[in-house]
């Protein structure tokens, strides 16, 4: 992930200079890899109960029109062949649609817990006025049936469906399109979000003063303010809810409501009532949450807001990453049958451990190099963190960036791994530097996305 100052985007096109920075995915990331990252962090979180029963993926920018992304997410998360998987798409409210389905599943007992991960690389036309405010981001949360395991309980849900054209992207279009925002703002987003919130309050028999904060997405800050004012909330409430979130994140697609929720929860106290809302194309979901005592545990386990450590790019670099200033595209050899045969090794990072002499091998081996035993091994996982043993900077390997950093690392628990180092400047590579593995898109050889692991220098993430 990188950042582009919003001012440089505006400057290029002669728009008003906007403040803050736009988060941008690297050329080897997409909504699936970002989701994998968020999912790994969430599943690995100390407050996350044991292995979830499945994963729902929500995005308007999934890597395929036709190939489910939640499957790969379930596989790399080790959720098993019987996991419940589904993709939610087509709208900025897809994330809350997934949450509602997850709620139904855990309420009915069909699952004990489900992960919901929203992820988007919001595609703006270069030069579009809202380009500086779009962003790339992913967020993950877990829906559980047992109220003793959650940090907030969902008490009521209300939704509004209206056929409305404000923002759209046809299946043959690359960029988000929209009508006249002077029409669609007040008559679309503002009206429908406020209607949905009022409907929720009525359902829950509450008034505005009993709500502590709201997490909701929006096309721009002014519309967000207007919608909440129309729903009867004070300016102070609006300020308290936002707390600088809009400036920090902007419009990050399906992720936006969850990113806002994360911020809201970190500022909440046990007993607070919080609204999670998502609006997209005439649909608005509103969920009423009651924060409980476990929020204090979550706060104590979470690092405070850190200064972002990702690199700042300029606008041409941004366009290059977005594939908008394209190189000749690479089509390396790939084979669906080969990838299928090697999933254990390549996706699950499982090596082999010889049953006779305990020698670990990665890549996998049928014939042990130490004792010669054939086909007598068990699966053994490669560690996901390690330290650089040596490194190289490839300058002739074709890539959207000027260099491809490579590292050989000694992995935690034994074994070695050799791979690209993502998001890395040559000067940052040092023998001994700590690294972790992350899922990235390697290339589109064979005409499909080839996902694999890369290193990333371990640093504090924001």
């Amino acid at each position: 992930m990188f950042r582009v100052p919003r001012s440089t985007v505006g400057e290029t096109w002669g728009h008003a200079r906007a403040a803050g920075e736009r988060p941008i995915a690297s050329y080897d990331e997409d909504s699936l890899t970002m989701a994998a990252d968020a999912l790994a962090k969430c599943i690995g979180h100390p407050l996350c109960p044991a292995k979830p029963d499945g994963v729902f993926f929500a995005s308007t920018t999934a890597p395929y029109w036709e190939k489910q992304s939640s499957t790969l997410l379930a596989v790399v998360s080790g959720l098993g062949r019987s996991a419940i998987t589904a993709d939610f798409a087509s709208s900025l409210r897809a994330g809350t649609a997934a949450v509602k389905s997850a709620v139904d599943a855990v309420s009915s007992g069909a699952a004990k817990s489900l992960m919901v991960v929203a992820s988007d690389c919001r595609p703006a036309q270069p030069g579009a006025p809202f380009e500086a405010w779009t962003g790339d981001s992913a967020a993950c949360l877990e829906i559980v049936g047992d109220e003793r395991q959650c940090v907030a309980e969902i008490e009521a849900i209300h939704q509004v469906n209206e056929e409305f054209l404000d923002v759209w992207r046809r299946s043959d279009e690359a960029f988000v399109n929209g009508g006249d925002p002077l029409f669609s703002g007040p008559h679309g987003y503002v009206r429908l979000v406020s209607e949905s919130i009022l409907g929720l309050l009525q359902k829950a028999n509450l008034n505005q003063s009993q709500i502590n904060r709201i997490a909701v997405n929006g096309p721009d800050y002014r519309s967000y303010q207007s919608a909440l004012a129309k729903a009867g909330f004070s300016q102070d409430f609006v300020r308290r809810s936002d707390a600088g979130h809009w400036l920090a994140h902007g419009d990050t697609g399906t992720t936006a409501p969850f990113a806002a929720l994360a911020q809201v929860l970190m500022n909440s106290q046990p007993g607070d009532k919080v609204i999670l809302a998502a609006y997209g194309n005439g649909n608005c979901d509103c969920l009423l949450l009651r924060v409980n005592d476990r929020i204090n545990e979550m706060k104590s386990l979470s690092p405070g807001p850190n200064a972002p450590t990702s690199r700042i790019l300029d606008y041409p670099q941004y366009l290059r990453l977005k594939g908008l200033l394209t190189d000749e595209s690479l089509n390396p050899y790939s084979s669906p049958a080969l990838l299928w045969k090697e999933q254990k090794q390549n996706l699950l990072l499982l090596g082999t451990k010889c049953r006779q002499c305990s020698t670990f091998a990665y890549p996998r081996r049928r014939v042990c190099l130490k004792c010669g035993s054939k086909d007598d091994f068990e699966d053994a996982g490669l560690g996901r963190t390690g330290r650089i043993y040596t490194f190289s900077v490839e300058r002739v390997f074709p890539s959207p960036g000027p260099t491809v950093c490579m590292a050989v690392a000694d992995m935690e628990g034994g074994g070695r791994f050799y791979a690209q180092v993502a998001d890395c400047e040559p000067g940052e590579l040092k023998v001994g530097a700590p690294v972790e593995l992350c899922l990235r898109k390697l290339h589109d050889g064979g005409g499909y996305r080839n996902y694999y692991w890369k290193f990333r220098l371990s640093r504090v993430n924001c």
Binding site: Y333, P363, T390, S392, V393, E394, R395, D410, A419
Partner: protein, 397 residues
């Protein structure tokens, strides 16, 4: 008793094509140039050859020839003799000699011809060795790897492990030496001296390696004629004997980088091949007994670790020896007097055979301004693939 090869196989003829961007020469042209030069040197005609080996590693680069011994038989008119094509990454040219030598020891043939040849230019942009690494390797494993990149992993670990070196100066000393030697060699691709400033200013390829740390992309062919020692004696050839051959297969195409025992300052393939060759040749201290060396300097960092793997110097000393001129043309242990891969490039199938040509002629005293002081024994060394294969061949009178 176990069979040995020592003193049983004689090299009686050697020949080279010009090495370079041979746009005016076809694959067959280069084969003819090298093979006939070797046959003339041996005083033989094509009819005298009983069997042949063709070393070509990447026939599909030029798309036309090299996938079978037929590509050697056709231009020379070797019909109907048996001809085998050998491919073993960078060890191809030397391994072809090894196979021919084993055939001589078997007694099945009197004279055998070995030609190593590769056409690396005249390919579409996706046909180069680099593009091959990008497009024709495993879709996921090691993706991003290039050969200069591997030797960048080596350089970075080498200078991390051994203190007191200026990496840039140390690497450059190897390039300067080899280009100087190449400037004395009319068959070399690059025949000009390079300076430290030029090297330091050349573009980066895989940090810290710059373009002038890397061998060029070159076409070329080399040939040798082998016979038994008895026949060489009887017929009065000016011959040099093979004293020992060691070849070691140490890794797979992807496994080196995942091997926790790989320390990136040494290649087991080279060490084991050298040990086997020294044992066969009866060499106890190569630093004293070897008078001339052609080793695999595809990249300057490779030469540093190769000299150590060949036990010419101790671990970590390779850099110092290069800097101090010990490996220069008139130093104690001249390395790559021909100009090495640095000056000749690396037409993969040809390189090992070309090295044999140089060592044999150094021992025969025929190298003119490049002649090193009376070498009694010399060796060639190749390191193939990313550390997959090592081959060492010792020669002497």
């Amino acid at each position: 008793m176990k069979q040995t090869i020592k003193d049983k196989v004689a090299v009686v003829g050697t020949g080279l094509s010009k090495f370079g961007e041979n746009y005016t020469l076809t694959y067959h042209d280069m084969v003819i140039d090298a093979a006939f030069a070797a046959l003339d040197d041996a005083g033989l005609s094509v009819k005298d050859i009983d069997a042949a080996w063709l070393g070509t590693s990447y026939p599909d680069e030029s798309g036309l020839e090299g996938n079978s011994g037929a590509s050697l038989a056709e231009p020379l008119g070797l019909y109907p003799k048996p001809v085998t094509r050998v491919a073993n990454y960078c060890a191809t040219g030397a391994d072809a000699i090894r196979n021919g030598a084993i055939a001589i020891v078997s007694g099945l043939y009197d004279y055998v011809l070995i030609v190593g040849v590769e056409k690396m230019r005249e390919v579409p942009s996706r046909g180069t060795l680099l593009a091959r690494h990008v497009l024709k390797t495993h879709p996921l494993l090691c993706k991003g790897r290039t050969m200069p990149g591997l030797f960048s992993l080596v350089a970075n670990r080498y200078f991390e492990t051994y203190s007191g070196y200026d990496p840039r100066k140390t690497l450059s000393s190897v390039a300067i030496k080899n280009h100087f030697n190449g400037s004395l060699n009319p068959k070399a691709h690059f025949q000009r001296v390079v300076t430290e400033q030029e090297i330091a200013a050349s573009p980066l390829v895989a940090d810290p390696l710059r373009i002038l740390d890397c061998c060029p992309t070159t076409d070329g062919a080399a040939a040798v004629v082998l016979t038994s020692r008895e026949i060489a004696e009887r017929r009065g050839h000016d011959y040099v004997l093979i004293k020992g051959i060691g070849m070691s297969t140490a890794e797979g195409w992807y496994s080196l980088h995942f091997n926790p025992e790989m320390d990136f300052t040494s290649f087991r393939a080279s060490r084991d091949a050298a040990q086997a060759a020294y044992d066969e040749a009866g060499i106890k201290d190569p630093s004293k007994e070897i008078g001339v060396v052609e080793l695999h300097d595809a990249f300057t960092s490779a030469e540093l670790v190769d000299t150590e793997d060949l036990r010419l110097f101790g671990r970590g000393e390779g850099g110092r020896m290069a800097m101090e001129g010990v490996t220069s043309l008139h130093g104690e242990i001249p390395v790559n007097p021909s100009g090495g891969l640095k000056s000749f490039g690396h037409p993969v199938g040809a390189t090992g055979t070309r090295m044999a040509v140089e060592i044999v002629n150094q021992i025969r005293g025929r190298c003119g301004s490049r002649q090193v002081r009376s070498p009694k024994m010399g060796l060639l060394h190749n390191l193939g693939g990313p550390g997959c294969l090592g081959i060492v061949m010792v020669f002497g009178r």
